[in-house]
Amino acid sequence: MSLSQETLLSLYETMVKIRTFEERVAEIYYEGKTPVFDIAAGPVPGEMHLYSGQEAVAAGVCAHLRPDDPVTSTHRPHGHLIAKGVDLKAMMAEIFGKDTGLCHGKGGHMHLFDPTLHFGCGGIVGGGIPHAVGAALAIKKRGEDRVAVSFFGDGAANIGAFHESLNLAAVWKLPVVFVVEDNLYAISVPKSASTAVRSNAERGAAYDMPAVQVDGQDVLAVYEAAKEAIERARKGGGPSLIEAVCYRFRGHFEGDPELYLPKGIKEQWKQRDPITILGNQLKAQGWFSDEQAQAIQDKMTALVAEAEAFARQSPYPAPEDALKHVFVNV
């Protein structure tokens, strides 16, 4: 498998789409919330956790997934869902709490579900990991070649459910890939203060599965490792773990003063912008020009603007529909 121009351009587009979406959502989020930060105010009430900086992980992994490969994600889900191919309009509408959103406006930014893409996420730390194992169990029982992927962070890797999930996935040899997005901080807790081992890749050995660590800012490194892990699972080779060391360019949540970060570290991290890294790799091969980069940026800016307009113009769910789509009707 050669890393072709087509593949690289596709990865580039995905990362720019994510970055553009996240940076625009950040701007929208603060509407109405100033001068005093009122989390309930504005068109997007509630919390917001953005993925800027970590695009290479979502793009590099999801490039190998089919729409019917299940993915579970976290409180920071936009990158994964965009990389999986979601309709930006429906996602934006959900973030705005509108009836045209993925969950009819009742889930919001942290509870995005798209059954057509077999995607779910939630704010419970580590909550999605067992779900991915369950999906993988169903896949295996049905004899299908689908693969489940669970994205979670370095904090979630210390949750009991992580350990139970890896263990059972290994015992039953399930087609699931665990992707630890190690951005070095679980909210404000540095990994060195929370995790007994130095790398979560070392935990693979405890659960009898191969585990690798990759540079999460280099989409090609993520792409190669994910390809091997996902193909292995698809062929019945069982579970594996990928630890992608990456950087969160924005706060844990929007409004996070990040007092826990060492001075200057953000600037250091931003030197390793995954979009710039891939752009440079493309240019070095003669596969890319600044004009092309601008064209891609313009395309994504327009797509996000279209999604935003759709969301703003959409209606809220009616109050009498409050209990619709919340419970299964038996």
Binding site: S199, A201, A211, V214, V245
Partner: protein, 328 residues
């Protein structure tokens, strides 16, 4: 000058994609901490007062010091960590500047390669914990510590008797040396560094070896298991790979035995080498993709005898035994 020993332990070795595409050993950092602790205790027992260590984000040496119960002082070189191989090169540079007698390295071929960029005439005591461990030794940590102590104290002229200068391959671009390899260089049919490791023999175009020897695994194995290699010890080799050649079945990675077709083979003496053809491609140095080569670039690879100095651990210990170093 008080004897001082350097320690460079690579926290990243043993965790790359070869755990997925081959059967690379899982070398967890706890084991590395154990090894470092054993080295420290051996150095301490023989009176080495000072160790200079590379800091790392995982705190391997710091953790080794917990429960080590040693009297020696450990200082850390003042470098800003990039969490890449550059840290090991910087650390080696500082250690050389600070006059260490030798540098104990804990890692694989890749670790030793980046240390060798700056080690100059300070000998290495290489303990293997990587994937392909052709350069360093599968040696127990305590023993390596003993050898390092003997070298630091220059017992029985051990620095002349048990230290040799290894050869290396130099990569030069437009006439300027840009990098080096201690074991081999593979011209790989890929354009990007990406996950660094190489594992697809179909993509290996050319193989240049420092000194193939019996028992290696990795790309070097492509030449090392040819019968003529037994009488060609001490030479480097340049092999062009491709279809319709002479076929071998060899261990190109841990647990990865693959057929490879060799179109041509020539021995290399010091100073000899060749030009890299087939750009765009990428050069894998000691098993890891490192330097992309673009069309139009003039890149050559040649064998040099100016590699790092290396302590022969068994010999160093034997030399010390001879002088009664262990009789107190």
């Amino acid at each position: 000058m008080t004897p001082s020993v350097g320690i460079i332990a690579n926290p990243a070795s043993g965790k790359d994609i070869r755990r997925l595409v081959a059967h690379g050993s899982v070398f967890d950092n706890k084991e590395k901490v154990n090894i470092i602790r054993r080295v420290l205790r051996a150095l301490d027992a023989f009176g080495i007062p000072h160790v200079l260590a590379m800091p790392d984000v995982f705190g391997l040496v710091l953790r080794a010091l917990e429960d080590a119960q040693v009297n020696l002082n450990v200082d850390f070189v003042d470098i800003s960590l990039t969490n890449t191989g550059e840290d090991s090169t910087q650390a080696a540079r500082r250690m050389v500047e600070n006059g260490v007698s030798c540098i104990v390295t804990i890692g694989g071929d890749g670790t030793n390669r980046v240390v060798a960029k700056a080690s100059r005439d300070v000998p290495l005591v290489p303990i293997s914990t990587g994937t392909n461990n052709v350069f360093p030794s599968m040696v127990e940590g305590t023993l390596a510590g003993l050898a390092a102590a003997a070298v630091a104290l220059d017992v029985n002229q051990v620095r002349e008797r048990a230290v040799h200068r290894a050869r290396k391959l130099v990569i030069a671009r437009e006439g300027k040396p840009i990098d080096l390899a201690l074991v081999d260089v593979v011209v790989y049919d890929e354009r990007f560094v990406a996950s660094r490791a190489i594992w697809d023999v179909e993509k290996m175009r050319t193989l240049v070896l420092v000194a193939p020897h019996v028992g290696t695994i990795g790309a070097s194995a492509i030449a090392a298991y040819l019968p003529e290699m037994l009488t060609a010890q001490g030479h480097g080799a340049w092999l062009d790979l491709g279809p319709d050649g002479r076929r071998v079945l060899v261990p190109v990675g841990p647990g990865l035995i693959a057929p490879v077709s060799i179109r041509s083979l020539r021995w290399l003496e010091v100073g000899e080498g060749g030009r890299v053809l087939g750009a765009p491609c990428v050069l894998a140095l000691d098993g890891e993709r490192e330097n992309p080569v673009y069309p139009g670039q003039d890149v050559i690879i040649y064998l040099s005898e100016e590699g790092p100095y290396v302590v022969d651990i068994q010999n160093a210990v034997r030399t010390a035994i001879e002088a009664g170093f262990f009789v107190i």
